[in-house]
Amino acid sequence: MKYFARRIFIYVLTAWAAVTINFFIPRLMPGDPVQSLINRKQGQISADAAQSLYVLFGLDKNTNMLEQYIAYWQQLLRGDLGLSFANFPTPVSEVLAQSLPWTIGLVGIATIISFVLGSLIGVLIGWRRGTWADGILPVATFFSSVPYFWLGLIAIMLFSITWKIFPTGGAYDGGLIPGWDLDFIVSVLQHGALPALTIVLSSVAGWILGMRNMMVTVTSEDYVTVAQAKGLSESNVMFGYAARNAVLPQVSSFALSLGFIVSGTLVTEMVFSYQGIGFTLFQAIGAKDFPLMQGAFLVITLSVLAANILADVAYVFLDPRTRQEG
């Protein structure tokens, strides 16, 4: 349990750090981009909303930093992230609440598929080292070096424009009303297939390479030789002894590289105009919608933290050593 308490402490610390970074960045920037935006929207913003933006961006010059910081926290805990400028006068939290499920659905499923698939292929390649399977390695290296968004562009060019198999963008057919009916679900799956394929294709290579290298290292451990000597079946040795141990660093690196992966997948959403957080962030950049950008950063970071906690729980299940008391 000590292990778990430690991790939770780190996550609380990270959440605090993310909020604090979010607090300081607009205050450290030269000029006042937000002030000018507020001025431009003058008259449309109610006094309350304007006050909330002043607190978020530190434009309230009459208070000192500490008071601002406390006011900022109070506002955040109420779930107030300010007003979005681009989708005026919708609150940022509302815009993000609409896009978050799409991102979790697309990125979450694609990342898990990629991790499981990559680890399985890695186990097989690592086990059959020095056969034709090694030929996958250079290909995997190539795909791991390609930026996600470029692969997305190529996928759109091939599968949406040259051969019109998949739609070019969006999360569902514009003519449909979101709901749990068959038409809508089919449309969502159709629209999600290509972005998901892109994410899987560009992230699977990293897992293959990592798992393969761990397998190669683990298979020369004595316990694997012993298992083999006991006459256990090959698949038993491969999965029960070698892969079981090789997957541990893989899971902890999964937790650590989530930040990188999420960064990459957000850009995939931008390319496919998939209405998740990444696309919202992209639109916010174009519209210089600072409240939305800051809010998106916070929500993305907190989601990554939540995913990290899940990965940690998985790790505790996989590695009995972490469960030992004392």
Partner: protein
């Protein structure tokens, strides 16, 4: 240097062993470049270095060899690859090849600057965390964990997006500030394991100062890890810089591969079927990334001999009648022969060439059933 090279093996020692003989000057091993730099014996590493060298050259002389001015507008609008325009033209008739050649410089420069700054940061944080231990270690590790978990791209976007004009160097600084944590983590782990090794204890017992232990005993043994974290950071920097330019966060005035892609996207290259506009830039990124990964593989195999399959490609193994099985560590006989010859010259410990990580001769590490 009293340090014992960590986790290197026979082939590695042929070139890097400082041959600690008290009597007589150290004889420089004469031979081909391959023998002097065993790193170059690794085919992957050489491939990576060659590709990287090509792009570095392009970065240096790019503006002089570009066939056209990348900004020059011409009447050849959206033309496919031809003899005059190898990579075709953009919606304004600009030469895409020239844009890519000129853009190489900023890509490589941002990669290099980010890599250097982030690596220095990670060495400072990682090594001091590993060495100091206690509360300082806890604080520094927590700091690097925080930076690892926070997704870098959205953070960079909110910083760069609020700056009036984010040029190449600003981006490099921001990328370095967000990209050092991984290296610091790896370096801390390795420093922790080095700190308790005998040679460091011996140095401490000799009364060497902490600074001397850090600089002359520890850092030389971290070289491979520092190099690989440097290369990892450069890859991260190049990918991030391109992504930022592509989504239009950074300045779009100067040319880089990301800027080319940005204009291709905003110029509707996809829907106009202008594949030549965005395919080459992406391939260049992939090539550089691949080169860096290959170099990293080279370093990995250099450090961890188990990953090495020196001269044992699949075909080669079949020809020699070797069936790779579990617990199989390929042994490069020719490399061993040369190293043995060298190891005989100085009165070294007979086991000096036996790496710590390879299985001891007593256990049956290799299974090479001859057909």
């Amino acid at each position: 240097m009293t340090a014992i090279p960590v986790q290197t093996d026979a082939t590695a020692l042929t070139g890097t062993n400082p041959a600690p003989t008290a009597a007589g000057p150290r004889r420089k091993p004469r031979g081909t470049a391959q023998q002097r730099f065993p790193f170059l014996r690794n085919k992957k590493a050489v491939t990576g270095l060659v590709i990287l060298g090509f792009f570095t050259l392009l970065a240096l002389i790019g503006p002089w060899i570009a066939p056209f001015d990348p900004n020059a507008i011409s009447k050849d609008i959206l033309q496919g690859p031809s003899a005059t325009h190898w990579f075709g033209t953009s919606h304004l008739g600009q030469d895409v090849l020239s844009q890519i050649i000129v853009g190489t410089r900023s890509v490589m420069l941002v990669g290099l600057v980010t890599g250097v700054i982030a690596t220095v940061l990670s060495v400072i944080v990682g090594v001091s965390a590993g060495f100091l231990g206690g509360v300082s270690d806890e604080i520094l590790s927590a700091l690097s964990n925080i930076f690892l978990v926070i997704p870098a791209l959205p953070l960079i976007i909110i910083i760069a997006g609020q700056l009036p004009d984010a040029g190449g160097m600003t981006i490099a600084l921001i990328l370095a500030a967000t990209g050092w944590a991984w290296g610091a983590r790896v370096l801390r782990a390795q420093t922790l394991s080095l700190r308790r090794r005998d040679f460091v204890e011996a140095a401490r017992a000799n009364g060497e100062s902490t600074w001397r232990i850090v600089w002359f005993e520890t850092l030389p043994n971290l070289t491979a890890i520092i190099a690989s974290s440097f290369i990892g950071t450069v890859t991260f920097a190049i990918l991030s810089q391109t992504t930022l330019a592509f989504i239009g966060v950074t300045s779009i005035k100067s040319w880089s591969w990301g800027t080319v892609l940005y204009w291709a996207q905003s110029g509707q290259a996809l829907h106009r079927g202008a594949w030549w506009w965005f395919v080459p830039a992406g391939l260049c990124i992939a090539l550089v990334g691949m080169a860096l990964t290959f170099i990293n593989f080279g370093i990995d195999e250099f450090v961890n001999p188990r990953l090495r399959s020196a001269g044992t490609s699949a075909k080669d193994m079949r020809r020699r009648g070797i069936r790779p099985r579990i617990g199989f560590t390929a042994i490069d006989r020719s490399a061993m022969a040369t190293s043995r010859r060298r190891a005989v010259a100085p009165p070294a410990h007979p086991d000096a060439w036996a790496p710590e990580t390879t299985p001891s001769p007593k256990s049956p590490p290799t299974k090479e059933p001859k057909r």
